[in-house]
Symmetry: C2
Subunit: 428 residues, 2 copies
């Protein structure tokens, strides 16, 4: 298959929230407490909520920038590519990048929305979560039906309220919930606690997927304070194996056999080893640990419940039969620093050709699996023939995708961010 004829849906992209997100969306008595953007004296745009200040960090909005600039300090809106926060520009960037549809994780609330967990005024926090979800579903994803898989934030502090929110947004067509890869690290009951059962039940009832994004536990793997930042970047995806192990061995899938979980940005090449390790652990230890999966193996449980994805992962494609072709999705990670936008389709096609991926397999990985797992049908909105890389790019002739440096201006003398600074910002 030629890359022009492929269809790409990304199950892991990111949006930067625009300053007007909450305008007119909160009841009057909560309006003053809504998160808002402030422009600081040194030129940054920061979100402010409940006494916390959240800068946008360099690595989170680098689409269109040269790699030399990836580590610069917090950026203002006018220093970012508009596709980060403006849905109309985003859709043009998607088309120019050959991508039909994508699912966008949040930025300032953190991947799991834990910013709102810390807020003492839970009435306000609940209104903010609902307003955020309405904006994401109605205004961001709603502006271009068939171009976005809508995603909701959870009400982390209350599984019943979370369940109600899952049911509420499902009525609006949203079947994807972002969550944390480990609630225990946020000070909440772990995956092993029945505390979360109301949420799991709502997810199953509504056919909604739980997405656990790397880093959503709030804990980055920092081996040492003086470790080069390359160490943390290298280790980020594979660390999600902790969430996978937690879930496979937990009671969750036993009690909720229809629950589905996506390991967002977790990569795939490590999974065959991990599945072997699960099964060997079961073989060697179940006699005394008491684990019992009946006539199945833990690797079967993984494949029944867990969706994986990758940006560019040659070993994952090579080992697709050991992972399960039905369990693999593609992702673009726009506008983060691991993305190959606007040439991501070409990157996929090159590696797929190297490992003899068939057209049918490529279709599953690039879009069909995402459509099935997320109950998302872009072809209801746009004829399939108009959804290919070639057709989408033809939609936006001359759209500027050049990689060019920003006007460094105030950054001229600013060193790239240190590991400590990045970790501090990322976990703020």
């Amino acid at each position: 298959m030629r890359v022009e004829d492929m269809i790409f849906i990304s199950v892991d992209d990111h949006l930067v929230e625009p300053p007007n997100l909450f305008e007119g969306r909160l009841p009057a008595r909560f309006a003053d407490g809504a998160p808002r953007v402030e422009h600081t004296d040194n030129g940054d745009d920061v979100w402010v909520f409940d006494g916390q200040t959240i800068p946008n960090i360099g690595l989170n909005a680098v689409a269109g920038r040269p790699k030399e600039e990836y580590g610069v300090n917090p950026t203002a809106f006018d220093e970012m590519r508009a596709g980060c926060f403006d849905v109309h520009e985003r859709v043009k960037d998607m088309s120019a990048g050959g991508v039909l549809a994508c699912m966008c994780f949040p930025s300032f609330p953190s991947f799991s929305g834990r910013l709102f967990l810390a807020c003492d005024d839970k009435e306000l926090a609940l209104e903010v979560v609902r307003a955020y979800n309405d904006w994401h579903i109605d205004e961001w994803a709603g502006a271009y039906p068939g171009r976005f898989i809508p995603m909701a934030l959870p009400v982390l502090w209350d599984p019943e309220l979370s369940a109600a929110e899952v049911r509420r947004v499902a009525q609006k067509g949203c079947h994807s919930l972002t969550f944390t890869e480990n609630p225990a690290t946020l000070g909440l009951p772990s995956f092993h606690d029945a505390h979360w059962d109301p949420l799991w039940r709502a997810l199953v009832d509504e056919g909604t997927i739980l997405n656990v994004h790397l880093g959503s536990s709030g804990q980055l793997t920092v081996t040492a304070p003086d470790a080069p930042i390359d160490v943390m970047i290298t280790l980020q995806p594979i660390n999600i194996c902790q969430a996978a192990a937690d879930l496979v061995w937990s009671r969750v899938f036993k009690e909720f056999p229809d629950l589905r979980v996506a390991l967002s940005e977790g990569g795939t090449g490590w999974i065959p080893y991990f599945l072997d390790r699960l099964d060997r652990t079961y073989d060697m230890h179940r006699a005394w640990t008491g684990q019992d999966f009946g006539d199945r193996l833990p690797s079967d449980v993984f494949r029944e419940h867990i969706l994986t994805c990758f940006i560019a992962d040659p070993i994952g494609l090579k080992l697709r039969d050991d992972i399960g072709v039905d369990n693999m999705c593609w992702e673009q990670d726009y506008p983060h620093s691991d993305s190959s936008w606007p040439r991501a389709p070409e990157e996929f096609a090159r590696v797929a050709a190297q490992f003899g991926v068939s057209d049918d397999e490529a279709d599953k990985i690039t879009h069909a699996n995402a459509m099935r797992w997320y109950r998302f049908d872009p072809f209801a909105h746009r004829p399939r023939a108009q959804c290919t890389v070639g057709a989408l790019r033809a939609d936006v002739p001359g759209h500027d995708t050049a990689i060019r440096p920003m006007d460094k201006g105030r950054f001229a003398d600013v060193p790239t961010m240190s590991l400590g600074e990045l970790a501090e910002n990322a976990t703020a």
Copy 2:
């Protein structure tokens, strides 16, 4: 190749220290402070040193026991298989298991000897480390030349003293040092600090390998206090990727190009993914992180410096060309719970046949790589023809290798150890 004709050297086994280890080995003024074994009122044998009590834990001495018993509480010497602590019995167990030679990690001092780091009397601690090393090299490994790759403990609190100890034991033929996978978690300077340079220099000068065993940082991956113990067991090996990332991105290999490190019990199947991830991180981020490996890639650096090993790892054997056949060793893990003793050679041969491993490749993985990396030549002591699985087993006809339950006696009503108890013991 028939399994009877294969030759096996294990680069990761374990010994349980016998009670008389320190007898007559310490200067008189330190003799009273030497670690000693005490038999407790409830029937356990424990090591006592410097106010600390270290039990032997169930999973560490289960060779010959049925899997149902793996989780029982601390065991006394008379409840363990003698091969755990008696070198004469160990050699018989090795022969009956078809294993020519092995390298034995310590038990009560922890894999890295961090028990002695905590001792305030550093004069005493230094004498204890030296006495331990002399015992290991002269009495344990020395009793059967050609059957053990000797291994020394470091002087963790002082890189100059560690360097001196490396040079001292090298004179006795020991070219293997156990260490921690992350000194920073022990409160010491990290791999990124020049603090350790005297030790690295001594290792390079003496051609001695640094071995970082899973769990040697003193931190087990416990996702949550109520996580089933299966989670921790599953995640143990792959966590060593943190040490690999730390070392590859550090200044250590740049400054000491002849230094060699073994990821002990770390498995191999995850490594091809990890190497891809290293190279992609380099490609995407070096422009701003400043990493520079000249005309090489970080994956080249990994293969030049790092030895891997596995117990039973189908994906690792399948991907041996992506790992590097010259970088892979076999291990048995006797007497721990992940071991397949006494049928480990058969397990290897079965998987090797499944993935078409050639005789030459099998020779490298089962013994030739270990001989080369560790400068160990068992054939100088025993004709090669006498070193095969078949020849070794013929040496000990009728040696009892049956898997049988111990006399449960005092354990009749004891539940298997919880995750919390195991973690507490393992990190004591």
